[in-house]
Amino acid sequence: MGHRRHFAVIVLVAAVAVAGTTWRRAIAASPDAPPPVAPDSLMDTGLYAADRPGVVDPRNRPFSPQYPLWTDGASKARWIYLPPGTAIDTTDVNEWDFPVGTKLWKEFGFRGRAVETRWLWRATRDQWVFASYVWNADGTAAVKAPDDGVPGAARIAPGRFHDIPSVHQCRACHVSDRTQVLGFNALQLSTDRDPNAIHGEPLQPGMTSLKTLNDEGLLQPARPALVSNPPRIIARSAGERAVLGYLAGNCGACHNRKGDLAPLGLFWKHGEVATAGADTARAMIGHETKWQVPGVPEGESVLVDAVSPQNSALLRRMTSRFPASQMPPLGTVVRDQDALEAVARWIASQRDASR
């Protein structure tokens, strides 16, 4: 009897040890293990239900950031998958740490047709896999794009084409953040949606939000305060709030305190914009820029010129689609007219206020 019990314990310990080894391998890639790779077909990434082609697997949660990135007017759909039993580590409320196994998809469409679906997968603790899948013309299949991207994947305006970025270009923006996930954070998922958000989309029923994440125990530690007092950009006007949100969504991935561009002094990351919006906006006025505004004496260019708005580097660079001057520098070939008008209105309001 005693031997049998000892044997059972030993078997149990061995089983646990084997399981532990397997688990350990799963979360920390062995240095000798081949790097994880994206499958060749979108259908094999887990986006769609196995037995229902074209139907998104219900385990993948749709979401919509309130301040979306401008991609030349592309329609977008987004989903996130969190492995069962896991949660997002929100110890740092502004730097969410996603569990191993997290997957995100973002579908881009032009003129009513899906063109590409980008995929981000946290394969191991240290490895995020980036891939994009190119849709065929009839929307029945999407195959992995080459790592170098696909120039001219879709015509979006006369003489203008949507390019599928290279993996290196994807990383240019996504590695600016420790989490490598953009557009899925407290401000973007806040239930206090900005009604004036530029190109903002309404939060549809069934979409993931801060509230659903918290209620389902997917934030660790739980963040009930983000539900009772959802993040909101504190600005001096509704227009300023929308402009700051736009900058957070389109520029904050690179222009923040932690990245290589920190010396430029432009801090538009979501967390900072949300908590210090008015200060952020004030700091933009008269902020010196290295970029020379054409027609302005050398050394006198500023980000926002409230007296002569047309000389604001911010407006000029958002307007430009020439490679030497356009901002953002990649991911768009058509200027965002709605955003330009909103920014111009905000700058004009600063001029009026300074009179």
Partner: protein
Amino acid sequence: MMTSRTVLGASFIALAAAFVPAAARVTASSEQAPAYTPSVEHGAYMVNTKGCHDCHTPWVMGPKGPEPDMTRALTGHPSDLELPAPPELPPGPWAWVAAATNTAFAGPWGVSFTANLTPDTETGLGDWTEEMFIRTMRTGLHQGKGRPVLPPMPWSVYGQLTDNDLKDLFAYLRSLKPVRNRVPAPVDPGEMPR
């Protein structure tokens, strides 16, 4: 005979073996892989054989014709060379023009000037990191995330070099004497004063 305490002890050791040393082993393994030490000598070989001087060193007319002015090696477009607006090309197959120094180029992208590759902090690569340099070659974006690197810089060719080759190349550039030469910013089409 195995006692309960012995079994518990064995259990603990087995569990510890299964779970605890993971990080330690990964760390130990990482430590075994020596960090790469870039070779300045190989970097010099790369620079001298891959055409860097063709554009990043101003050319002058010498006794044997145009040749790179090695007294200004890799310093980019000379800041004291003021250029007029580029000539307008008629419609047809001619698409771009170059200054006689081979450091300024005008085409559909505007006007581009070759960079100062010496490690001067204010005007060269002095504040660049190795990672930034590699990212630039891989992405074609200034400092790996800024504006596009403009023609005719063949970044996509150099982007196919191995990380170690690029590290060597960067190490060599860092070993150069810093030279202060502020290269003009690129100019959009039509923005060059006439």
